[in-house]
């Protein structure tokens, strides 16, 4: 059981780091209880430093001597509704800095409904535990399309979005693994700024990831790799159509967790978007985060 708990810690702790380093974008993965607990509550704080300011549509990386940094404070909770059903929610507060400019505010609130469609009740050596989920993203954060300053004040995706996906997890002795698949659709909205007047069509996106962990005593060390992609975003105004390029980036994460008693746990996570994959039309960053989680047993 502890190993499954740790798997959960790992996924959650790297969650904030999956978004595009610059200007918001991307969609986080929902808060879920993967262990046998009744409820959980966690808070995390992470700092992301943009180290590659721009990767263009040819895959060329560019960096300046001044970079953005993003701080994310997040509270998350999940609760069992019935035997296999659960709900979850996350509320981030995001602060973005560039030079002497600082922008701060509420990010996108995400809610989710999950169902455990594969149970590991008999500890089958091969069959994983499977949880399917749907997620609703509320556009409480500011999208880069709403920004008057090129996305420096953006705080997330900023669109209504509906997602669905699954997480498969499995433990063998001291090892655990998980696979995560998630697809989402962001919905269009009207924008009226000095830069853009019209309708923005964001399109589809996905997260595809896997990870594994090594457990000993009250500790766990883990690794994960997630590829995120977002469709071309189109802006249609009265007489101008603008198309943004297809976005893609990969986030590698390593984590170290400590289980303090049966109910509390601490996780330190380092993530890096510059090491894997073939990024396009994005910025890349490195993040350091700390998460504290409390769980209530069934």
């Amino acid at each position: 059981m502890l190993r499954l708990v740790f798997s959960l810690l790992f996924v959650l702790a790297t969650n904030y780091a999956w978004s595009a380093a610059c200007c918001g974008g991307g969609l986080s993965v929902p808060t879920m209880i993967i262990s046998d607990d009744r409820a959980q509550f966690s808070t995390s704080y992470g700092v992301t430093h943009v180290t590659v300011d721009n990767v263009d549509d040819q895959g060329i990386w560019r960096r300046w001597d001044q970079h953005q940094s993003v701080q994310t404070l997040k509270i998350e909770g999940a609760h069992i509704l019935a035997d296999r059903w659960q709900v979850g929610a996350s509320i981030p507060v995001i602060t973005r800095q560039y030079g002497d400019q600082t922008f701060s505010g509420l990010g996108d609130i995400a809610t989710s409904l999950s169902y455990e469609y594969l149970s590991d009740w008999n500890y089958n050596p091969y069959r994983p535990k499977g949880i399917g989920f749907i997620q609703l993203n509320l556009p409480t954060g500011k999208s880069r399309a709403d920004s008057e300053v090129g996305g420096l004040d953006s705080r997330g995706n900023g669109f209504w979005a509906l997602g669905a996906g699954t997480m498969l997890s499995k433990s063998w002795a001291i090892w655990d693994v998980f696979v995560l698949l998630e697809w989402h659709r962001s919905f269009e909205k009207s924008v009226n700024t000095s830069l853009v007047q019209g309708t923005v069509y964001p399109g589809y996106g996905s997260n595809l990831g896997f990870g594994f962990g090594y457990n000993w005593a009250m500790y766990r060390a883990g690794f994960s790799l997630t590829q995120t992609q977002e469709d071309t975003m189109e802006i249609k105004s009265n007489n101008i159509n603008i198309k943004q390029g297809f976005e893609r980036w990969s986030t590698m994460g390593v984590s170290f967790s400590y289980l303090q008693g049966e109910s509390w746990s601490w996780t330190v996570t380092y993530s890096d978007q510059t090491l894997f994959g073939d990024p396009l039309n994005t910025s890349l960053g490195k993040s350091l985060g700390l998460q504290l989680q409390h769980r209530w047993a069934r």
């Binding site: 610059c22 880069r144 008057e148 996305g151 830069l195 009265n238 943004q244 390029g245």
Partner: protein
Amino acid sequence: MSGKMVSIICVSILVLANCARPKYVEETTSNQTPAGKVEVAAECSAVFSESKYCLSWYWENKPTSKQTGSLIFKVYRLNQFDKTAVPVDFKSTPDVILWMPSMGHGSTPTQTARLDVGTYRVSNVFFIMPGDWEIRFLVKDENDAAKIADGVNVAIGI
């Protein structure tokens, strides 16, 4: 005696004549094009989509990662006779937007001021990241400010 006098007079005339510093008025003035030469026709590589006016621009102060910059741009039409530049004004001062197409976002707002007929300064030019950008010179519709009546995009690498 008379011969001597004539000789002295002639020598004096010659001496006076050698000392002369004549200043002739040029027959052609400096603002006239020398015969056989014509004014060079203006380039028109960036063209506004509707009016077909031409645009040229240059950095007055090139922006950096930490400092804003400014640029000067000129709007002109080509003289129908010899294709030289004739400055023209739009009815309203054009707006200038900095846009990164690949990532679908702009940058901080700029300010445009008219300096002379067809000549404008764009200040507060700042790019929030390096990469391929567009400088969009836009003229709003005089009846509907939400509509763009004319414009031209210039691609640059930062």
